[in-house]
Subunit: 211 residues, 2 copies
DNA sequence: GTCTATAGTCGGATAGAC
DNA sequence: GTCTATCCGACTATAGAC
C-alpha cells in the first residue's frame, strides 16, 4: 500500500551499488516471468539473481519498491528501443509489420509476460499501479502518433480516434501474451499477425496507399 | 503446483455443504477482484465472505483448489449466459454490439478482472493453468462460430481464419480490462466500442450485408 | 459440516557485524 | 555496501471439539 521509502532518498550512488541495483531488477524480472506476481517475494527474487535477500530492502525499501522500479525501467527501455521504428510508420501494413517484430522480440524476452504480471499486481498496490500507468504513457503516445499517420486522409480518421486504436493495440498485445502463457504449444499470435498483414494490405490498397 | 486433492473425492453432497461451497467461490471471486491474485489467501478469502478459514481446506483441499473451482464455474456461467446471443450473430455490426453488451455486463461484475487475475496466477500453478485453459474452450468456440458466419462469403473468409479472430477478440477483451484497472476514471473500452460500431457498419456495407 | 486451536513454514523488515 | 542473524506476523494445513 505504501510507496517506496528507501532509508534516505536514493541510497545508491557509487558504481558498485548501481550494479547491484541492476542485478536486483534483472532478478525481479526473471522472478515475475517464471513464477508470476503471486510467486514474488524478496527471498524468491534473491534466489533468482543469487543475491542476498536484505539487499532488496537496502536498495528499494520494500519488495513493492523493487517492483515499481522494475516497471519504470522496463517501460523506459521499451520506449527507447522502439521509438525510431514506430516513428517511420505511415501505412497500416508497416504498422502491422512493426507490431509483429516488436511482439516477436518482447515475447521472446518475456517482457510482455512481465508487464502482465505487474499489471495484475497493481490490483493490490497503489504505488505499483501508478508506476505502471506512468510507464505506459510514452508508449501509447508513440503508437497513437503512428496510427495518426496511417489513417490521415482516410474516412477512418473520424471514426477511429487514434487514442482508442492505440489503446486497442496495447490491449491486444497484452491479452495475447496472457493467453500465450496458457498454451505455449501453438503460437496463435504469430498466425494472427500473418492474417493481419493480409488485411492490412487490403486496407492500404483500399485507401490508395502503397507500402 | 499440485492439483486439488479434497480429503475424499468430493466431500460435499448435502444441501448445507453445497451452499457453503458457493459462498466460498463467491468470496474467492470478490477477493480476486478487490486484492488481485497476489492478495489471495485462505484467510483473505474467508474475510471477504465472512466464513471460516478452515472451510477452504475442507471443501477444496487447498487455496489452489478453490481457485481452480472458481475458474471452472466462472467460465461455465459465461458460456451458458452468452451462447444464445452469440449464436444469432451474422453481421460484424451485430458481433460488435453483442461484444459491447457482454463487455459492459462482465466489466460491471468484475468478471473479466477476475479472469485476468486467474490467468496471472496460472503462472505459478499448473493445475490452475489447466482449469483456465479448459474453461476458455467453449467460449472461443462460440466466438469462432459467430465470426465464421460474419465473414462467410467475403474475401476475408480466407485471410482471417476464425480461430485467430476469436483469439484476437478474447485477447482484446482481456487486455482492455487489465488496462481499465489501471485508470478507472475514463472508460476507454466504451469509446472504443463506439468507434468499432462505425467501422463495423462500413464493413457490412462494403460486403453487402445489412444488420 | 463447522468451529477453535495450533504446529510448522515462509516472508517482510531491521539490527548490527564486517 | 553486503552479509548474518533474528523478530514477528501471516500463511497453509491439520487435529480434534462440537
Amino acid at each position: 500500500m505504501a510507496a517506496a521509502k528507501p532509508p534516505k532518498g536514493a541510497p545508491t550512488s557509487g558504481a558498485a551499488g548501481a550494479e547491484t541495483r541492476e542485478r536486483l531488477i534483472d532478478a525481479c524480472r526473471a522472478c515475475l516471468r517464471d513464477d508470476g506476481i503471486a510467486g514474488v517475494s524478496a527471498r524468491a527474487i534473491a534466489r533468482h539473481g543469487d543475491l542476498n535477500q536484505a539487499l532488496v530492502f537496502y536498495h528499494f525499501g520494500s519488495v513493492d519498491g523493487l517492483l515499481q522500479a522494475t516497471a519504470t525501467e522496463d517501460s523506459q527501455r521499451r520506449a527507447a528501443l522502439y521509438a525510431d521504428r514506430l516513428g517511420e510508420v505511415t501505412t497500416l501494413a508497416q504498422l502491422v509489420a512493426v507490431g509483429r517484430a516488436i511482439h516477436a522480440v518482447e515475447s521472446e524476452r518475456g517482457s510482455t509476460a512481465v508487464l502482465a504480471q505487474l499489471l495484475a499486481g497493481s490490483a493490490s498496490s497503489e504505488g505499483l499501479r501508478a508506476a505502471v500507468l506512468a510507464g505506459m504513457e510514452p508508449w501509447t503516445s508513440l503508437v497513437a502518433a503512428a496510427v495518426d499517420r496511417v489513417v490521415a486522409g482516410t474516412p477512418l480518421a473520424e471514426a477511429a480516434p487514434t487514442d482508442e486504436v492505440a489503446f486497442a493495440i496495447a490491449s491486444l498485445f497484452l491479452g495475447m501474451e496472457m493467453f500465450a502463457g496458457l498454451d505455449p504449444d501453438h503460437d496463435r499470435a504469430a498466425s494472427l499477425f500473418a492474417s493481419l498483414e493480409t488485411v492490412a494490405g487490403l486496407f492500404d490498397a483500399l485507401v490508395g496507399r502503397r507500402a
